[in-house]
Amino acid sequence: MSEIKIVMNILQRNDEITLINKKLLDDKGIYVINLMSAPGSGKTSLLELIIAKLKNDINIVVIEGDIYTTKDAMRIEAQGVPVVQINTGGACHLDADMIKNALKTLPLDKTDLLVIENVGNLVCPAEFEIGEDIKVCVLSTTEGNDKPLKYPLMFEKSGVIILNKLDLIEFTDFDKKEFYKDIKSLNANVKTFETSCVKNQGIDEICSWLMKKIQDKKIKVN
């Protein structure tokens, strides 16, 4: 009997395709966001407001991940930006290969920002790199401030956390102090925003931050 040393990453195939995606997107200087949250936290609503505000200044494209429907893609399409729908047909997250295929159909030569809206799920999407520059996680006040500690990987790996549905906070027992304490214990360097889509609050701040990131990426490439 012989022992053979392998030392090979089990998710290697996904990681290899991630590198292909990353190279393609880096070469074109496109800033890429992997947008994640539980179902119903407001990913698509935030995206609609961000697109409405920025679409005259920059070129935005969107990949929509959903298990079955094209409902979200239709909402984004109504904003007049290119969008591709990925239906995972049951799978609870997007992987690098799905993104690689979706990228083939997008006008990448004329793109500044790609937003990949992941499947609504606080667990699995955090475990798969897909070629993004940053993971952005949305939590809404109605979900409760205990979620970061219950789903630590998502909040640990995100570079930005958006607290949404701030307009409803008075009807919940959401404890902002606890929330910030918890996310800082997971990820002390995380950037945070507070938003309300119905009151159009906090969107300007996100857009300013985004524009800076998009410019930085372009400078890095050129």
């Binding site: 009997m1 012989s2 022992e3 053979i4 040393k5 392998i6 030392v7 090979m8 990453n9 089990i10 998710l11 290697q12 195939r13 667990v123 699995c124 955090a126 475990e127 500690l149 630590p152 990987l153 640990e156 800082k184 214990s185 997971l186 990820n187 002390a188 360097n189």
Partner: protein, 113 residues
């Protein structure tokens, strides 16, 4: 996590490597799984013994080595054990994201004839 799809990837990797090394039978597969990887050893075990039926790995055993999560302080270079909720250096109290180990998910060794 996705223990069945992980085990399917393990079977692919092990089969390729076994053929490459001219093994006709695999007796043991060893994995290294980091504490922060989000993978449950019990689920991997369950999936392994179901998925290896009718493959080169049938009859083999699975060994899972858990890897402790450790970070190195960027200031004082002290190495210390961490978990999801505590990444503060015990010496200088600095939050550290320079993680040395804990996210591992790989096939370490195989044994066979």
């Amino acid at each position: 996590m996705h223990e069945v799809s992980i085990i399917q990837s393990v079977i692919e990797i092990v089969t390729d490597k076994a053929i490459e090394n001219k093994l006709t039978k695999v007796n043991k597969v060893s994995l290294k799984i980091g504490e922060l990887s989000g993978v449950m050893a019990e689920c991997l075990n369950f999936a392994f013994y179901i998925c290896i039926v009718d493959t080169m790995l049938e009859g083999s055993t699975l060994e899972i080595e858990k890897v402790q999560a450790v970070a190195e302080c960027t200031d004082c270079k002290h190495r210390f054990k961490i978990d999801h909720f505590n990444k503060l250096c015990p010496i200088c109290n600095k939050f550290c994201l320079s993680i040395i180990s804990g996210y591992e998910l790989y096939v370490n060794t195989i044994e066979g004839d």
